[in-house]
Subunit: 159 residues, 4 copies
Amino acid sequence: MPTERCLPPPAGLLDGALHLYPLRVHYDDTDLSGIVYHANYLKWFERARSDMLRLVGIEQRGAVDAGEGAYAVAELSIRYRAPARLDDALTIATRIARFGAASVELIQRALRSGPAGAPDLLAEARVRVGFVAPDGRPRRQPAAWRLAIAALIATKDSE
Amino acid sequence: MPTERCLPPPAGLLDGALHLYPLRVHYDDTDLSGIVYHANYLKWFERARSDMLRLVGIEQRGAVDAGEGAYAVAELSIRYRAPARLDDALTIATRIARFGAASVELIQRALRSGPAGAPDLLAEARVRVGFVAPDGRPRRQPAAWRLAIAALIATKDSE
Amino acid sequence: MPTERCLPPPAGLLDGALHLYPLRVHYDDTDLSGIVYHANYLKWFERARSDMLRLVGIEQRGAVDAGEGAYAVAELSIRYRAPARLDDALTIATRIARFGAASVELIQRALRSGPAGAPDLLAEARVRVGFVAPDGRPRRQPAAWRLAIAALIATKDSE
Amino acid sequence: MPTERCLPPPAGLLDGALHLYPLRVHYDDTDLSGIVYHANYLKWFERARSDMLRLVGIEQRGAVDAGEGAYAVAELSIRYRAPARLDDALTIATRIARFGAASVELIQRALRSGPAGAPDLLAEARVRVGFVAPDGRPRRQPAAWRLAIAALIATKDSE
């Protein structure tokens, strides 16, 4: 009988300053109209941002546990262009658009492999997240985080 | 031993053309940072819209079951102004901003009772929903629905 | 133009030692098969338990904020008997089955108004929750909470 | 500038008749007590089951679209043994325990890599799912599905 063991968790990757995060559409992502419920794209975008942070060495849980603070979404706009369905294989593409002392603005797109190779754009969003102290007030991002993000933005793209 | 029985479900109300939908912040709405996860406001806004539709006599489930179609969010922008926490008593205020043959645009705000009487604004959104056929293509809203929404917009406010 | 204002949040009620918590099935509760996704009953049961605690004066958020601890589900079994669908008006009926120093065991049932008056049973669960310190270890429930729960159990049913 | 492209979606694997499905704990999986909200384990278990079905060639979406039916959870019991936290790398281990014409019973365990190599058991569940027609009545699983599942059960484990 095979031993139960742990596998490495799914993860995205950085291609230069572009972050790619793959995911599968699950049963619980859909609603009775047969397509993905619109709020779930926001979860996917947040997971992609968190994965991007992890890849540059930013550990969000440590900052929450230490009482330093956490990122909170301050503003978000999204356009839904085509629906996603159960079992679709999607990728969230993320780029940093602007970067300040207390906030980061990102462009995020949900893509699905298209028949001709070029992916279909399902949704695109502009998201501004701010770092906030546990009392809810805006706070400068930790210095090491700002360095890590600045280094990511400065990355030469690989192509 | 008291008999198990069903109570009337929670519901919002219409005050003229303004729709108000109360809710309580639940455990599963929050995340480890102690505040409501941002995507959950989109669920609340959708529940408020669905409640508003129900109050004017629009039955969404019937339209899905009959293969006519369903509303899908086409575009949404939201600003988060203050965080909500467990047990907070909120109200979603909804107004129709624009109304076309195949889509409706709404302004929605999440409010929390403030100490001085005037509610605190936690988040505000502009949402455009379109009616779509089961194949995903935009379609005119059912005639009876358009009449019901037009009547709501024309309602004299009660104050 | 009517003033935006806050309405009282939805709540359940105690009928003797029986707790009843009404809810409406929302769009995001369903999945592509047209019925409620099974995990969502667990959310409803938890909301009903939290509402019951609130009604006897137990404030969970205060205990988390003070670093005292929180209830965590230790064990749960559920039978699904009939599916719930969009817009269904349900009621969660909750009774305390056992009560110890560090844990509470409850029977919870999801009911839907039946045509003949007697509600349809959609799902029933047995849930054991334990109070746990922030470090994850079991801990006695706060003394005031134990008194409040003991008083609830001792309540003469109203019929 | 690198081209946006799609990556292969995350997936589990079969090791003989044992299915392993890795996942990362996300922000939205947690609640204000700092740990994963209990209902989310049910989502993970369902995703693992769906992944296992996909790996043996069963396409659930096609069956729903064709009006044949879908799996629905009939009965579930779960014990929570240790909490999961943000960023934890987990694996869901799934085995089929019983297999009938209209239902499948599975043992599922949530594991986290332990320091000493042997994984920590966070939760274990017994789940019975039944195949149901769109009208909600139990139905025999499609013949091809029964063959695929029978073949999986008969698989010689690789060790």
